[in-house]
Symmetry: D2
Subunit: 348 residues, 4 copies
């Protein structure tokens, strides 16, 4: 295989991280998140959030971050509302339900939740026979590559606040979201509009690690007990610290996210120019072009990617993902191959 | 502080691991444990176990490994039997109970379980009003530094087999146990005498990772679902793979464990020669000498370590831990300082 | 209020039950389901099932029965498939998720599941990132008053068997289902076509109690531990035993179900004759006529019932439920009042 | 068998309860605890507690009450402290752990907790690696028949308050405790000294039901959701209401408890006069005399009771329990038989 566009975690990590790990390797450091690199990461996130008061906790992965946050902040009869496409609903092997909570889902056109979509789930009847919604889970960028605007997130935030709902943002790809062409938010906006969010390293230049940020002060107490209880408090927290300490220097994480976005946008623009349409708006590093099955078959001989959904008439939507490390030449070669193999009017 | 003997995870990892991570950094690898380094690790463990059929799964840490194994293999009314000193009982913030299971504990003189200690917990009356024991949890080396002999483990294994109990060994420090002076077992023995065990990297030269080995074939089915559900299936499994692939080359992990043991034994022998006694037999890299409080106070000015338990007459047991990376000169200096400060008959 | 058609648990119980409780009140009986009345109930159910080998356990209520069955028979990463209208999905305050399991739901026209509806939920991709369906939950009669035919249940049973899915029937209203006009099944059919079902007393002439029947022998072991653990093993099991011992004499339970059905059918036929349509087929004791809001307002002054769903054009579907104890005269009076208040073409 | 002294739930219920069930049988009542009998029960408990503000919820049994209270009021990393003899620790098949919580136990001489016994479990080190105690569970009367004095409970209550611990009293046999000869408390005292307690009907003249009383106002919110979620909210709450409405009229429940106590005290006094000693102080309706094995063997031919513990020298402690319904003549006959069979110096 020439190159895999299957996901954004096929490569290792930005070399700065490995360099730091090597340079600090034999210094003795306290365990469980009290090491220098973790403290540096926390300070960097607080600075980017313009909120010296937020609590920051580094954990290994996204599913772990999700199950910890939902488990820690929901009472057992409280539910979380999510888009049907939400990662917690589809790709976590029932991790959230295993913490005892119901996910209430709503279909969405674009993977994004709005007050209008959530409202019907509130005030269910009869009282205490149904679950009680207490949290709204959103992803930015979403599982289908779209992003929230500041206006959208503000409306959602206000609605949640008015309805006693915690707003939680899964930011496994927040690095891509905040470096996307259409983005109009900063990390400080995210911190001021959500109660909890996390910023992912794994898919944005790191080897491992998601930084959970507790922006709502009411949520801070004893959270570390919960992290420990779920097996997520690592003895050598220095490993996680090194990821974020390096990725947050000089905006490296967002530069890497921007690189991934840019290459995906090159793919999208070129495919659009060839006449292909898309399942969802191509805004970040995940794009879903609709291609002829014959073309897909040919491309799959050289390139890795998922066929996302069978469409009508010999067409399928595929998912192409670029990463922080995707080389320009692989994108060029892919587009060259598409052009050689395409009949430009195929999806019309 | 000159040096910390507080734990065996203060330093980073063996340089070979960082070198491998660097050398393979930009190769694209499949996610979720299907990468080359993980496959190499699995093969190495199977070879050491002399069991090509065992399943091996790499997860981040010990508490995570424990809660996954107990959660996966016990029905909700089934309990696990552990020594009162067992890590799952004391230092996991209720992680096991959070998976829904009762830990039934027994006091032990030395942190080790025996058939005689377990037997009274079986056949409880009245039936179905009590939990039903189904697993025995042991640690090797134990939380207080002792190790099992082959005879002891064989007796326990046979007893478990006869009583329909799964035998699970927490091997966070198995590297130390199997390289201890008094050890008479190999990894193959462990695999043949237990149903499940894990081999820890974190405390034995790695940055992160415990390798869960399913030796009992009845336990293999669908285990990966459970790992995923607990948030323990990492996108970049290559990170875990690199630890074990390197540590299992040429017995490196056991050499590193042996180094830690040796330095601790130097400490133990010298302290004994000075007339100090010990709370538990000093067999591996964790030793528990009983020292005068005044000496402890002085030593704590230069060295990190835990005061484990107040004893009578101005004495306390302390815990000294050496690691794969502890330098010989730190041990020499510590002993030099002890001698300068000691009055040799203090614990008599 | 003249009479409530709100539910089928507004009245107490058939007098035979109270008589038996009185007559046996001072005899000493073993606790926890080993009393004479429970043994008599078990024998009666085995006889009706024509299966001397089934296990029978009496528990207090439907939600309790559901959470016990799902908790006992599913591994944590296994899901249950249910109709969107399923009681476990909507009216149990997240009881199933609180046992750690995901409910996967499908929309249905009539509250009933079919192989065609279930099939798309199987073989999800990618493996071990999603839950694994292991049980199918159906209700008979359903939450919207419909019933399964023998052909439908046979098809479902065969499909489940072929796909390694347990088939579980919530029979809170099985007494009504098996005494409905359109029914072509016996309790023996239910026992031969499902793996687990329960037969409800609470809604069919008893004060309390659901009889869980384990028809699949592989499920029997240790089930009583699970019942105890969920707080469902009652010291005075004689109370539950008395319900079923009496209700299963001479088919009393099914007669009482039949009475409820008959009165509901009288309501349905008369409303239909008046030109009203129905949200769902009126097959048992729960019917959902669509009435003008003005009429509903008037009727609600004298009669209790739920407004189920706002429809277009000043119409709403209401839910009318009759019980084993509903007097004929209340139905007559209700219909008399409807006729007085109706303009017969309202729903056309 | 002539008579069983095995437990206090062998007989049915006080006839007033059955009479009320009969008299109100065909009145329509709202479900789920909103019926007249339940409202009357709630009012009666509030009056006895001299606290019009307490919340009262009726549930089926003691294990259910325990698991609901612990599940509702503890966060997942919070533990409950109990005596080793506590019902939750030994006789609930892991029900508490199944809600995710660790029980931390302490040995006691008499089944009762004191501040001195609890204190060592607080302020465990290291923080967030261990569970965090948040509740103290006591039983009154205890599982071994002893009762708390007002002074003891006051000391415990104050200690809990000072240490941010909720105090929860299992009152499955509170009817016996408050009617014991040595008792100096009222239900109002219990309500003022605990945060939560329950008053049991099952073992004190009812067929079923425990009344959970939330005395601490901070605990009230949404509790009914939790009850529903655990399957404990009964459609026909009138059944539970009838128990307490009748048992709380004219102190009937405490009279019945007193009857049980009195007969047990007759047994205790007579056995003591015969020279027998006791395993625990004989204060309520459960007594634990130490008898010769030969005598036990003979008595067991006519009477049911448990052999509690083998003692030295051919002696065993047995448990004799009397109930609200135990006839005087059975006690007389039992004592007559003991005297005939005894050699008065046997336990000396």
């Amino acid at each position: 295989m020439t190159y895999s566009f299957t996901n954004d975690y096929s490569e290792g990590c930005h070399p700065n991280i490995l360099r730091r790990l090597s340079e600090t390797n034999l210094t003795q450091q306290p365990g469980y998140g009290n090491d220098e690199a973790t403290l540096e990461s926390v300070a960097a996130i607080r600075a980017l959030c313009q909120r010296p008061d937020v609590d920051v906790h580094l954990v290994a992965g996204g599913t772990l971050a999700n199950l910890i946050v939902l488990g820690a902040f929901l009472k057992s009869y409280e539910s979380v509302i999510a888009a049907e496409t939400g990662h917690i609903n589809n790709h976590e092997a029932g991790a959230i339900e295993a913490t005892g909570h119901k996910i209430e889902t709503v279909p969405t056109p674009d993977g994004k939740l709005t007050p209008r979509l959530i409202e019907p789930l509130l005030n269910k009847f009869p009282e205490y026979h149904t679950v009680k919604p207490r949290m709204v889970y959103i992803s930015n960028s979403t599982e289908i590559g779209t992003i929230y605007t500041k206006q959208e997130l503000t409306a959602l935030s206000q609605f949640c606040h008015e309805n006693n709902l915690l707003l939680f943002m899964d930011g496994a790809r927040l690095g891509m979201a905040l470096s996307a062409a259409g983005n109009d938010m900063t990390l400080a906006d995210i911190a001021s509009l959500t109660d909890i969010f996390y910023l992912g390293a794994t898919k944005c230049g790191g080897l491992i690690g998601e930084a959970i940020v507790l922006a709502n002060p009411a949520l801070k107490k004893d959270f570390k007990y919960y992290i420990k209880q779920r097996g997520a408090l690592m003895a050598k927290g220095r490993l996680f610290g090194a990821q974020f300490a390096e990725l947050l220097k000089d905006n490296l994480l967002f530069e890497l996210g921007g690189h991934a976005n840019q290459l995906a946008q090159q793919l999208a623009t070129a495919l659009q120019d060839l006449g292909y349409t898309f399942l969802t708006p191509a805004q970040t590093n995940q794009i879903f072009p609709i291609l002829p099955d014959a073309l897909i078959l040919e491309l799959n001989k050289k390139y890795g990617f998922f066929v996302w959904r069978k469409m009508a008439d010999g067409l399928s939507a595929v998912r192409l993902i670029t990463s922080w490390a995707t080389p320009q030449e692989q994108v060029d070669q892919f587009l060259h191959d598409v052009k050689s193999l395409s009949t430009p009017t195929s999806t019309h």
